[in-house]
């Protein structure tokens, strides 16, 4: 249906977006690449000059580097697992008829509207604080020793906080997808004698496959850059127990003000993120075809 004329028009219509994003990608990327090969620390203006790949070798041999990769993976996969499985179960539940559906839906989506900084502050102080937090008070009231979340299992606590923020998003998308499922299809399956479990696996899950991939894709993009939650709660510690790649780049560039190393770390993070992206794109690309 597309003629030559409409193709040209289409190109014209796409180009502003492409040019803007290209600029947004290339300008910082080029500057970052340039800085990554410079000896450039904001606090020491006298020093400078080309250092080749020194910054990269320092970043890659940083004692925290492998921990950071591991923690990034744990964080992203952990949140994805909780939000997709939890979101799926929650969507199945909310899809059932019950009293007060509208209000419950409002309650469930609320965490998505909370700023990451605020949610991290609230969880850290009002809930996970081992002396004054709600959890500590609850533990004490039933005679238990309060659990020190952010010291004993820092990464798991951050996963919990981030998952709380993203669960509504997953739930909403999956719920919408579930509601679009033809009820006749389900009834037909029921007539054929399929139990609830096989109905779920053979009718619902295939129908939800696309929605699940979308949840994973969008969330991964945002989760890879999780930063505020770590900065506010644990500062990447204790030790390096909750230092992710993004946080490590932050330490280099904004704590040590070592722009060169920070830039090198940024490039490393971009490369790794794009490797993840290629996998994801393959996955979702396939799902979008049909």
């Amino acid at each position: 249906m597309s003629t030559q004329a409409s193709r040209t028009a289409a190109r014209l219509m796409i180009s502003p977006a492409v040019i803007l994003l290209l600029g947004w990608m290339i300008v910082p990327l080029a500057m970052t690449l340039w800085f990554s090969m410079q000896r450039y620390n904001l606090l020491m203006p006298g020093m400078g000059g080309f250092t080749g790949f020194d910054n990269y070798s320092y970043f890659l041999t940083d004692p925290a580097f492998f921990d950071a990769i591991k923690n990034t993976l744990v964080l992203v996969l952990g949140v994805l697992a909780i939000t997709t499985v939890g979101g799926l179960l929650l969507a199945l539940l909310l899809d059932q008829p019950f009293w007060g559906q509208g209000i419950v839906r409002v309650l469930v989506i609320a965490p998505f509207f909370v700023m990451p900084t605020v949610s991290a502050l609230v969880w850290k102080n009002m809930f996970m604080n081992p002396v004054n937090g709600v959890f500590a008070h609850l533990a004490k009231s039933i005679g238990l020793q309060p659990y020190d979340f952010l010291a004993q299992s820092p990464l798991a606590s951050i996963v919990l906080i981030v998952a709380w923020q993203w669960l509504p998003f997953a739930t909403l998308i999956l719920l919408t997808a579930l509601q679009s499922l033809d009820s006749e299809q389900l009834e037909a399956a029921e007539m054929d004698g399929a139990g609830p479990i096989s109905r779920f696996f053979y009718v619902m899950l295939p129908h939800l496959a696309r929605a699940i991939t979308v949840v994973i894709l969008i969330q991964t993009i945002f989760l890879l850059s999780t930063f505020a939650e770590i900065l506010v709660t644990t500062n990447g510690g204790p030790g390096t127990a909750s230092t992710t790649l993004t946080y490590l780049v932050y330490v280099q560039s904004l704590l040590q003000f070592d722009v060169g190393s920070g830039a090198a770390g940024g490039i490393v993070a971009v490369v790794l993120a794009n490797i993840v992206a290629i996998f994801l794109m393959r996955m979702i690309g396939k799902n979008l075809e049909n």
Binding site: M1, S6, A9, A10, I14, P16, A17, L20, M25, P28, L29, T32, L42, L93, Q96, P97, F98, W99, Q101, V104, V106, V108, I109, A110, P111, F113, M115, P116, T117, V118, S119, L121, V122, N125, M126, F127, K140, I173, L175, T176, A177, S180, S183, R210, V214, V215, I221, L224, F227, V232, L245, T246, V249, S253, G262, G266, I267, V270, A273, L288
Partner: protein, 276 residues
């Protein structure tokens, strides 16, 4: 719905759904409750907290200390402005991708999404230097541009998936009637696309409102939105739960209320093409 449900089952689902809903909402509710307590009461155990008197003390303190309405207004301008600009750029692009797909359309879309993967902390100094030279530090227009670029991929993606669901036959019919490309866009497509655009707008206003890195780094006072406002209340010396709660409530209330009122519109477009 034709599915028959026994009352017992319905009651069970009701109890379960309400329990989970309240549990997920509890942190927000608790923050709001603590914001009406004195600092001393706010650190007491939960049951004690509920029996202590309510007070507006913390809100008075917050109001005295910061110009909430300035920050609020900056947040509104920045989140709405960046979203509107993004829509202006994204609508034509998404339209073209959806209705005149080329062999490279998918790759283009994926590439756009991948631009979101650059860690912001790594490029702060380059961007800061750029902003300084352009005189954009602490200006709302600067933040509008940055947040627009940040969210543009998501906007294009959402609109694209939404536009794709609009049947092509309608366009053909319009063309038969002699509609030009412009007419097609304005009179046929846009009305059909309004729900999708509305939900895209809502989601991006939320994302921009909650963006806490660039907004904090690139502003000082005149253009500072609510994220900067919050940074003045986290961990000062002395007790701070009540004041922090009050500031947090003030920061999230506008977007929470907007979100609740518009949740139907929001949900409709949140499918990212996941629903056929």
């Amino acid at each position: 719905m034709a599915r028959a449900v026994t009352p017992r089952r319905k009651a069970l689902v009701t109890v379960l759904a309400w329990t989970i809903g309240l549990a997920l909402f509890f942190p927000i509710l608790w923050t709001v409750i603590l914001s009406f307590k004195t600092e001393g009461d706010a650190i007491a155990s939960p049951l004690t907290v509920l029996t202590t008197p309510f007070t507006l003390e913390s809100y008075h303190v917050v109001q005295d200390r910061s110009n909430y309405f300035l920050h609020f207004w900056n947040s509104v301008v920045i989140s709405l402005g960046s979203t509107l600009f993004a829509l202006v750029v994204a609508i034509p692009a998404a339209w073209a991708m959806a209705f005149v797909p080329g062999p490279k359309t998918k790759d283009l879309l994926m590439w756009m999404l991948s631009t979101k993967m650059m860690p912001a902390v790594g490029v702060l100094v380059p961007i800061y230097l750029l902003f300084r030279d352009l005189g954009l530090l602490d200006s709302r227009i600067g933040l509008v541009v940055v947040l627009m670029l940040m969210n543009l991929p998501i906007v294009v993606w959402m609109l694209y998936t939404y536009f794709r669901e609009i049947p092509g036959e309608i366009l053909e019919a319009a063309r038969m009637d002699g509609a030009t490309l412009k007419d097609e866009l304005i009179h046929v497509l846009t009305p059909m696309a309004v729900p999708g655009i509305a939900s895209t707008l809502l989601l991006n206003v939320i994302l921009a409102w909650n963006e806490a890195f660039w907004t904090l780094q690139l502003t000082t006072s005149k253009a500072a939105p609510l994220t900067t406002f919050i940074a003045g209340y986290s961990s000062p010396e002395g007790l701070f739960y009540a004041k922090l709660s009050a500031a947090s409530t003030l920061a999230i209330a506008p977007i929470l209320i907007l979100g609740w009122f518009s949740q139907k519109q929001l949900v409709r477009g949140l499918t990212f093409g996941a629903v056929k």
